[in-house]
Symmetry: C2
Subunit: 335 residues, 2 copies
């Protein structure tokens, strides 16, 4: 397997994520290159994509996947006027990715609201701060600007989108790996969700049996879908293009994220199983608690507004060590 | 096994080693409580020892071992006038440890110069900085204040010491676990070394077959002694009371320390072997490279004079994750 980390598109002064990642032996970067993060053009502009690629390469990384919305996808996801122009740009982006040698794209189809938590600093082991979700604490009314959008309408939008982008992705050699809805609940702020159940993924898989229509197996979301996780890994094995390795306690309606070694699931068995079913692609640890110095109230620190929830570095140093240790003991080569 | 970390006797503002260690699930602390570090009395004063113990306990740690010279031991190690007074204090310390419930003491018999490196910032993976030793770069002449001391004289000093402290340690229920000379070379600055070979440890073991006469298996030092490491683990298994888990490249005369996953030895096999031979005691990662932000020349930082070589925290977050991952995959319980 290839062990990667989601990294910011460029290191800021004092942000050591890039250098620390190289020091723990990470060669594969996962990047979100949206203009609001890069300060550059969207990557349907090839020059912009190549500038980002060169920056990562100069630091020793291969960009092995892009992840998240690389451009505003709301018109596409919600089926709003203008989506055809956006889809044309999306196709250009896929072509650019292929030419740039970036062959994996983790996308999601969560409209308007992306991954969603109702708390970002719940104390866990030793006072580290984890993110959590409780449906009872969530604002559930529809968003004023979008109103209610049924899941079937979102399915229509997805098929409309895939009919147009999938042939381009195939030709470009780019694998589109759908990420589950996070959390996998029926709707968020009035907008229906479609990748919130194994059946949703079955439907998407069966819609287009294409080498470019694949899955990001974000395992905690699959854990929350109400079916045992191991059979799901076996069932979806041919379609898994990317693994997000994490653990979680609770249900889709009430959960807290845990350190990788501190959750209820058998992480050794899961890693072994990915290997057993033949998965040899990209895996990355996901969503670690923020540790001392990385959250409001840490000793010696006011809230650092640049802190990212779930993606700070100290927990990931630990998580990468943990995954490397398991992999070595299981005889799984991590490159 | 019990997984521990060597921690400073108290956290300083901005030094997050204690809190981060708890957050990665460390329950067992290894401490050096020498007065120059605690600012308190030596621990032959029971109140001083109890103050330190209470401080660790309030933060959630059990002190599971003391390590290093807890008082000036040069008169003992070099056989100088005054050693009997020092040995009397040492005996008092052993009694105090037993009463305080601290039953493991990692001691060494390196006179005048302790663990010794000729470089502390050799770039390794990703520009992390490791410590290294090259005999050719070491000052080899005897120290003016001590002159030459033969290894046989050091043996005499050790037996003189052990004859007096071992019965006290036994009665107090304290295990004295001898640490190898680091590096294991014949002499440093004119002072002979005795724990620099398997034969040295055999001689010490055979001198007193006591439950309190044991070994700290600092594995990289044993790797440098010129015999294969696995048979040494098997041979010394009944005597190993404490494991220092580390890796190293080179020879006793020219080596560099590595990240735990980046050295030449099979760390999975070593951990598995400790378990197989029945070792169920304390293990700690040792000597990690200093990572970005922890060495002179790190981005955004002048030399932080409080930086400790080999014992900074980021590399240990990674190392503890690595050990935990291996242990879980091997079915070894780490408490």
């Amino acid at each position: 397997m290839k062990l990667g980390l989601l990294l910011p598109p460029a290191p800021k002064p004092g942000d050591h994520k890039w250098k620390l990642s190289r020091q723990i032996g990470i060669n594969h970067a996962v990047a979100k290159l949206a203009p609001e993060l890069t300060g550059d053009d969207p990557i349907w502009n090839m020059d912009s994509l190549l500038r980002s690629k060169a920056r990562f390469e100069a630091a020793g990384f291969t960009i092995s996947a892009l992840e998240g919305d690389q451009m505003d996808m709301n018109r596409i996801k919600l089926g709003l006027p203008g989506r055809d122009e956006d889809i044309a740009r999306y196709c250009q982006m896929l072509e650019n990715m292929g030419k740039a040698g970036i062959h994996l794209l983790c996308y999601n189809f969560m409209g308007a609201v992306g991954w969603f938590r109702t708390a970002v600093a719940v104390p866990v082991r030793g006072g580290a701060m984890a993110s959590a979700f409780r449906l009872a604490d969530a604002e559930t009314g529809p968003l004023p600007e979008f109103g209610e959008v049924s899941a079937e309408k979102v399915w229509e939008n997805w098929t409309y989108f895939m009919d147009r982008v999938l042939p381009v992705a195939e030709k470009a050699g780019v694998v589109m790996a759908a990420h589950p809805d996070d959390p996998p609940i029926p709707a968020v702020r009035g907008i229906g969700r479609i990748f919130n159940s194994p059946d949703g993924f079955r439907r998407a898989r069966d819609y287009a049996r294409s080498p470019s229509n694949k899955i990001t197996f974000c395992q905690s979301n699959f854990m929350l879908m109400g079916e045992p996780i191991e059979p799901l890994i076996r069932e979806f094995a041919p379609n898994i293009a990317f693994v997000h390795f994490r653990d979680i306690k609770g249900t889709a309606e009430d959960f807290i994220e845990t350190f990788h070694d501190d959750g209820p699931h058998d992480m050794v068995e899961l890693l072994r199983l990915y290997h057993e079913v033949g998965f040899d692609g990209l895996i990355r640890p996901d969503h670690v608690p923020n540790m001392e110095g990385e959250y409001a109230g840490s000793e010696g620190g006011a809230l650092n507004l640049s802190t990212t929830v779930g993606y700070e570095i100290q927990g990931r140093l630990f998580a990468v060590g943990y995954i490397k240790g398991m992999a070595e003991a299981l005889g799984i080569r991590m490159e």
